[in-house]
Amino acid sequence: MKYISKTKLLAVVLVAFTIQACNKEEQVVAPTIANEALTTVSVIVTNTLAPFDKDTATWEQLLDANGYPLPVDVSKVDLTLKANATYTAELVLLDKSQSPVFNVSNEIKERANYHLFFYQSLPSMSAFVIPYTSGDVLPDPIPTNASTTATVSSNALNLTVSITDHDSNPQVYPLGLQSSFVTGANSTGWLRLMLRHQPNSKNGTYTPGSTDLDVGFNVTIQ
């Protein structure tokens, strides 16, 4: 008697699970939503003395339908600046994988206490802002040999970047969405732009945290 009722129970359970097995949930494909997607980085520079002297360079890497990165688009990465001039520079970071396009720079501004941008002119005569480790690979379009220090000043890119905006940490560390580009004599080279993610560890230096963004631009000073 006892046994029979248990067999029945077992049968009911078996049927229940078989029905569950026929559930075809996997046929509905959820879209890929990458939490930290970032596709487009633009640097917009404006000459402080001539507001019509503006230039924009854009580094872009779009994603395919499954969220895989497509090849980097380096067709718009050229930035042209006048010699011996001062520019205000602004970064615009977008996530074009979302619809509507999501403005990431606004979010970074809100989380300024966790983020810090670094600008590295290459080739450089002075100490590196972004340390170079042997074996590291530089972002497109910067060639790897650009990371070695320029030996003669005529090879160096005469561009000095200083960050002008700040976070709300008590120590008021720089952020880097806004900056000032000061150029020297005619030269060509590259600008490496890096965003460091430093949750609860930002101290104004490069070291803590991890890299959220690492892109490059061609720079011509003429």
Partner: protein, 781 residues
């Protein structure tokens, strides 16, 4: 009150041989011997042997051997007692060193039921294949550790780790989808796509962990190229009454605490045959500590429970089982390296930059994993035909991985995967005739996976089926075994086309035969030699076919290959076993040839993404070999036992004529155990020290890693364990220290070795309280 067994006294039958040696010192004799089971003819371990008059006793070791020293000449009453067996008492006249072998029989009250249960235990493992188990005191010493960590004391078993909280077992160099784990008889189907996905099993459900080394697909299904791990719960209770066990574990490292309780009962009279068990475990750990600093965000918690209801009769029975496993694991924040530049700078640092503080708080990034298992089993035993068993199981594994809060401020996980699996297994063990025993069976499986958020693996559905036939012939000194198996597997993937964004459904099917053959010859009572050949195959898994993108915390860009073909393993195993009264030797050698072995090959090029550059790794197939030797030797001198275990492995990639990446390091594990016996009120006092030597892995392919393999290391450990009585309640205590010298070291198979040292010193206190409320108790002391 007497624990672990019902003490029904029985008539004695002593058949051991006596040999007297004239000895002038009348109090230096030894009583020793071996205890066998009268039913299974195997050695019986943990049998309590006691000389009543001297109040002197000990338990038999794994080989069933016991030794009692410093006995004066005279007549003594010696009592042998063991769970589920008739207590055996005999009178011995000691006039010299005395050897007394004993055969113990099942308790008549429950003999039939025990026989049924016992049969399962033996037949669920193929006979002729190297296998080892951890149970009893050895298992007690691993309480509070994860499954992977519990097994790594066995020769030939290693672990691959992702920080202190994630550990996966490695058998003979193979892991993840190449090892089958049977959780209470059910093929564990979790998310096994990376080394950071640990088996979702509570080791407290087990009273026996068995590792079958080498390809063992024939009985358990395809994929078991490396081996099989059987997580075997305690047999269901038979004697009416209620019993149970409480385990408490405290660890100094991470200030970790684990409590686990089990309660089981069986009914008598009208409901005879009906039994139940409930079990639960709660585990909490704070940040773990290396020799010199805390690892930030390595806290974890785990909540597990299970329930069983069984009905057991002589010829039929059924069982329902449900278990739930939940864990939340912090991922060491110092490993949040995204690109090559981060990982290179992390390697250059001696110590991570993360805060060196202790906390129980689990912060981002972390993993949440929930695994539920339901199982229903029924069997019927026919006198004419044999035994039939049918098992249905349904399991769901839900995994959410949380990263840092993104730019968008969204709180959802980065990755969500849910895999649901239903399995149906049937086996017929036919009645033995002319020394031949065997079984015919089938396995069926269907599985669906659903993903959300980031893309690691696509949605898929698969169906698989297998049929098997194994026969075993046993006569005199010979045992010969052979088997054949056929498997079919169908898989359909649901994903978006890269450009059109329409759903596409690539479909794959695979079929293959598996064979196994083995022979064992007993040269003498003490020595046997065996050899085994088996094949196994593994269909490409979805991650091997379709991954594409950055595997975080691995700082690698992994590229799947949708044209992969199944891999095939040809596995040779041989074992020599010798055991006498005080010396046990197991020598095993293996050679595993794998054709089309799928692995991540470094492409030595970097993939540029907006987050930086990542080294590319492609899923590639190669012909590889794993060759190795596992040795375990144990020598007992009076109360002192010396044990040494050696695991040697050599892995080579024949396709590129270079070493195979991520092969475990060779190691030797030595230990000395001193069984003191009784000290004051403490019983079964035993002291031990251990020394683990892990060599540096020098056999690595060139240009394939960010950093060279770390140096070898030596770890020392010590432990003391004893039992004592509180009233009539037995309490077992084990106190141990691991990495006693607080050595700072890194292991080649720990994926976080680029970022941090491994665990520092750890003091562990384990308390076990078994209890019993049985009407049949008799106090015979």
């Amino acid at each position: 009150m007497k624990f672990f067994y019902t003490a029904s006294m029985s008539m004695l039958f002593c058949y051991g041989h006596l040999y007297a040696q004239v000895n002038t010192d009348k109090c230096s004799f030894t009583l020793s011997g071996k205890v066998y089971s009268g039913e299974t003819h195997q050695n019986l371990s943990s049998v309590s042997v006691e000389i009543k008059e001297l109040n002197k006793g000990m338990a038999t070791n794994d080989s069933g051997v016991y030794h009692l020293n410093f006995i004066c000449a005279g007549s003594y009453t010696v009592q042998y007692s063991h769970v589920g067996h008739k207590t055996f008492t005999c009178t011995l006249h000691i006039q010299g060193n005395h050897s007394q072998d004993v055969t113990m029989h099942f308790d008549t009250c429950s003999i039939h039921e025990i026989l049924i249960v016992k049969r399962r235990g033996n037949d669920s493992v193929p006979l002729i294949q190297p296998q080892e188990q951890i149970k009893g005191k050895e298992l007690d010493k691993t309480r509070g550790l994860s499954l992977g960590e519990s097994l790594k004391s066995l020769a030939g078993v290693y672990t691959i780790q992702t920080g202190p909280s994630i550990s996966k077992p490695v058998i003979h160099g193979l892991h993840s989808n190449r090892i089958l784990i049977l959780n209470n008889g059910i093929r564990q189907e979790g998310q096994q796509w990376g080394s950071e996905h640990a088996p979702e099993i509570d080791p407290f459900i087990a009273t026996n962990l068995i590792v079958v080394k080498g390809a063992a697909s024939i009985r358990y299904g395809s994929d078991a190229i490396g081996g099989v791990i059987l997580v075997e719960p305690k047999k269901m209770r038979i004697n009416p009454g209620i019993g149970g066990e409480i385990n408490l574990v405290g660890m100094s490292n991470g200030y970790a605490g684990t409590s686990s309780a089990m309660l089981d009962g069986a009914f008598g009279k009208k409901f005879s045959g009906l039994s139940w068990r409930v079990q639960g475990t709660y585990k909490r750990s704070g940040n773990s500590r290396t020799a010199y600093y805390y690892m930030d965000n390595t806290a974890s918690k785990e909540i597990n429970y299970s329930a069983t209801l069984a009905y057991t009769k002589k010829n039929y029975g059924a069982e329902l089982y449900y278990s739930s496993f939940f864990t939340q694991l912090g991922i060491f924040s110092g490993t949040h390296a995204e690109a090559v530049s981060d990982i290179l700078s992390a390697i250059k640092r001696d110590k991570p930059l993360t805060p060196d503080v202790f906390t129980y708080t689990i912060d981002r990034p972390y993993q949440l994993v929930q695994h539920n298992l339901f199982k229903a089993k029924a069997y019927y035993k026919s006198e004419k035909l044999g035994r039939f068993e049918l098992t249905f199981a349904s399991q769901q594994n839900e995994r959410s991985e949380y990263g840092y809060i993104p730019f968008t401020g969204k709180l959802n996980p980065e990755l969500y995967l849910r895999i649901q699996t239903q399995t149906l297994d049937g086996i017929w063990e036919h009645k033995s005739f002319k020394n031949i025993k065997g079984s015919i069976g089938f396995n069926g499986i269907t599985q669906g996976n659903v993903r959300k958020y980031e893309f690691l693996i696509p949605n898929f559905r698969n169906y698989g089926g297998g049929i098997l036939w194994i026969e075993k012939w046993q006569k005199n000194r010979w045992s010969i075994e052979g088997g054949i198996r056929y498997d079919y597997r169908w898989m359909r993937v649901y994903m978006l086309d890269n450009t059109t964004a329409q759903v596409i459904t690539p479909t794959y099917h695979y079929e293959n035969f598996t064979i196994a053959a083995g022979a064992e010859y007993r040269l003498t009572e003490k020595m046997s030699i065996s050899a085994n050949f088996s094949t196994a195959w593994k269909a490409p898994t979805v991650n091997e076919l379709f991954s594409k993108g950055v595997h975080q915390s691995a700082a690698s860009y992994e590229i799947g290959n949708s044209n992969l073909v199944p891999e095939h393993a040809y596995n040779f195993n041989s074992e020599i076993k010798y055991s006498n009264k005080n010396f046990v030797l197991n020598f095993g050698a293996y050679h595993n040839i794998i054709i089309n072995y799928t692995y991540l090959k470094p492409d030595l090029i970097a993939i540029h993404t907006i987050r930086g550059s990542f080294p590319a790794f492609s899923y590639t197939q190669a012909n590889v070999v794993f060759t190795g030797v596992d040795v375990k030797a144990e020598y007992t001198l009076h109360k002192i036992t010396f044990t040494t275990k050696t695991s040697y492995i050599y892995a080579y990639n024949n396709s590129i004529h270079d070493f195979l990446i991520y092969a475990p390091s060779n190691r030797i594990d030595n230990s000395i155990k001193y069984e003191i016996g009784k000290i004051g009120k403490l019983q079964k006092v035993s002291l031990g020290i251990s020394n683990l030597n892990v060599a540096k892995q020098n056999n690595v392919p060139a240009n394939s890693d960010f950093a060279l393999p770390p140096a070898g290391y030596v770890l020392l450990g010590a432990n003391i364990n004893f039992d004592f009585l509180i009233g009539k309640q037995v309490v077992s205590v084990d106190f141990s220290v691991n990495n006693m010298l607080n050595k700072s070291y890194r292991d080649y198979l720990n994926r976080f070795r680029y970022f941090t040292d491994d665990l520092g010193r750890n003091f562990v206190l384990r308390i076990k309280v078994p209890f019993e409320f049985s009407k049949h108790n008799t106090n015979n002391n």
